[in-house]
Point group: C2
């Protein structure tokens, strides 16, 4: 059969797109509104700044059992369930009573990144000067700014110093930014699948994700509407994200060359299970993350350097901090933040005389392994925090 005939039958299974980006905060979410405008690293400032965060466990009398969890690009503050909000969080198996990050023992704070769209101020928030959504009028955002905003949440809870700072993926870079700005912020660090600076390969992947979004005719220079959402750009961006987050080895095990039966098959459409998997992942994501926030956070990752021209090398920057011990976890199959970058982090910590353990994990889930492969990740985290 000619493709054209197939094509006629083959409009991509249309799906109900529900824009839930500016979602109501979840039941356990608290919001801090900063009293002062937030001055940004690249100049300019934002006012007002609201930060959504969630807490688990109890702060002890000495106020020295706090852990700050900084997130990857897309998750919100709801890292785990709690009595107020029983819905499973994005790190449900890692965080909670008796879990590796044990909330019987620690007071854990997770902040939705400044610039994100899960309750914190960002390009999807209202710009009070114009009465409209910020969109591309939002100033240039860096991981330094996300770190600073997150630190304001810690300070608002009257915590002087964190017991531990935990950052997976972008969160690990944000943790380094926080250490750079506030050298005494923490006594311990857990860095997971992160980097002291983005590699050109990861910049290339992210630049393509952004290009897919801004090439979508509905992008409209950032002035898209709920009715005309840049769906095809976000779909491509998310699929490329999934390709970079997982690994070839996992997909051989999981999908092999199985055909798919969920979507109409065309020459350029979906023939294989791996394709329908990507489509399902994209459909889940598209309405839940704001395109312009995605672009801002993505670029912030490219720009980051742990040791910038002020502080010198990462090791020199880290030597000025109060860090005593660190745990660095990385995954052999991670394409986006490869093991080499974890070694670089560990070496910088060790060169700064910080007692550091590096674990090179053989998970097959690539960059996303920290969300999935608890058999590999739970033991070192539990041991480090015990």
């Amino acid at each position: 059969m000619a493709y054209k005939a197939l094509l006629r039958m083959s409009q991509l299974a249309s799906f109900q797109l529900t824009i839930t980006v500016l979602m109501q905060n979840q039941p356990a979410t608290r919001t801090l509104r900063l009293e002062q405008p937030l001055a940004l690293y690249r100049g300019d400032q934002i006012d007002p700044v609201c930060l959504a965060y969630e807490c688990w466990g109890e702060l002890n009398a000495a106020r020295d059992n706090a852990i700050l969890l900084l997130t990857g690009l897309s998750p919100g503050a709801h890292a785990a369930s709690s009595p107020e909000d029983p819905e499973a969080g994005w790190w449900e198996n890692m965080l909670g009573p008796g879990k590796p990050i044990d909330t019987h023992r620690y007071f854990v704070i997770c902040v939705n990144s400044l610039g994100s769209c899960k309750g914190s101020t960002g390009p999807a928030s209202l710009n009070p000067k114009t009465g409209k959504t910020w969109r591309l009028d939002f100033p240039e955002l860096t991981l330094d700014d996300i770190a600073e905003a997150s630190w304001q949440v810690v300070k608002s809870l009257r915590i002087e110093q964190l017991n531990c700072l935990i950052g997976p993926s972008m969160g690990g870079m944000t943790a380094l930014a926080l250490l750079k700005r506030h050298p005494n912020c923490a006594r311990r660090l857990i860095s997971i699948s992160s980097a002291t600076a983005a590699s050109p390969f990861s910049i290339a992947i992210r630049s393509l994700q952004r290009e897919a979004i801004v090439s979508d005719p509905n992008w409209q220079s950032g002035e898209y509407t709920d009715d005309r959402w840049p769906v095809s750009g976000m779909r491509l961006a998310r699929k490329l994200g999934m390709i970079s987050y997982r690994s070839a080895a996992e997909w051989i095990e999981r999908f092999g060359r199985q055909p798919q039966e969920h979507f109409p098959a065309t020459v350029y459409g979906m023939n294989f299970a791996v394709e329908s998997y990507l489509e399902a992942q994209a459909q889940k994501f598209i309405g839940q993350f704001d395109p312009v926030c995605y672009v801002y956070l993505s670029r912030a990752m490219d720009w980051f350097e742990a040791g910038d021209r002020h502080q010198g090398s990462p090791a020199r920057m880290l030597a000025q901090t109060s860090l005593e011990t660190a745990l660095v976890l990385g995954v052999e199959t991670d394409l986006l933040f490869p093991l080499e970058q974890q070694k670089t982090i560990a070496k910088a910590l060790q060169a700064a005389d910080i007692k550091t353990d590096l674990h090179e994990l053989s998970s097959i889930q690539g960059h996303d392994a920290f969300l999935i492969d608890m058999d590999s990740f739970a033991p070192p985290v539990a041991q480090f925090l015990s």
Copy 2:
């Protein structure tokens, strides 16, 4: 500065798009027009079929010194320069007098793949039934069909059996397809960075490239025009191609975190040298390859399996061939056709009692290394053919 202000200054440097897809054949190109319609593997047939090819060296009296070179997805038949056409070809350093594929000794044929747009019949050719370009009316194309068409060129030159069959990338898969269809076609095989069947990871990457093209509003269900070419889809597809063809290690050496100065910089635009490199690569490619041909060839690679339900495993298929010796080359940093797949090819050949050498090369250029890293590729090819 707000991004919006930057944005106003930042329309992507517009470039002169010259559509040279249906280019005039190059001076040394010959064309075979098949006398019969070509019956396709998935049913349907094509008529007429023209095949562009180029030859180097002299066929000896015994007609037993012929080499057939099958190409990757995008190159045409002009693999190397010759007296008739002094322009450098895509494998200039590998093929020629005194080079590893020595044209003093061998008669070398390179065929532009059926379905491509460099002189051979494909979706960009005229459909005689309608008087219009085939586009999506072109029947479903497989690597079996490309193999069969290429074999017709060999037969037209009155060659019964090839001295050697050489296939890099898609060409290696096409070589296996040819061996499956014509078991006595060759005495030797050089397989380079190829596979017995596409992995789900490479299917995922290619499916995204196709999706980028067909999501471009100018795609128009394949009815794009020279004036409204799917430029942004082709740009994304090519950039993703480059990401999958090269390696993270190469880009660290080559670009690191250098800024770029060739294009206007915006938050989502180009800040880093690796981004301007990708843009320059894309601009070169966009007007030179037909989008619908790209989609067809890309999907043909996904579909291919060296051992299909008729022939059983690749080893069983290969055991039925006249192959005596084989050379399998692969690259450690290849993401798209990883070393594991080269080992699979080599094992299948060995299991079929074909004397096989496998070289695992440590080039840092990833899948594209065979086009660039002659220090690694030239010696084993030269030795095998000497």
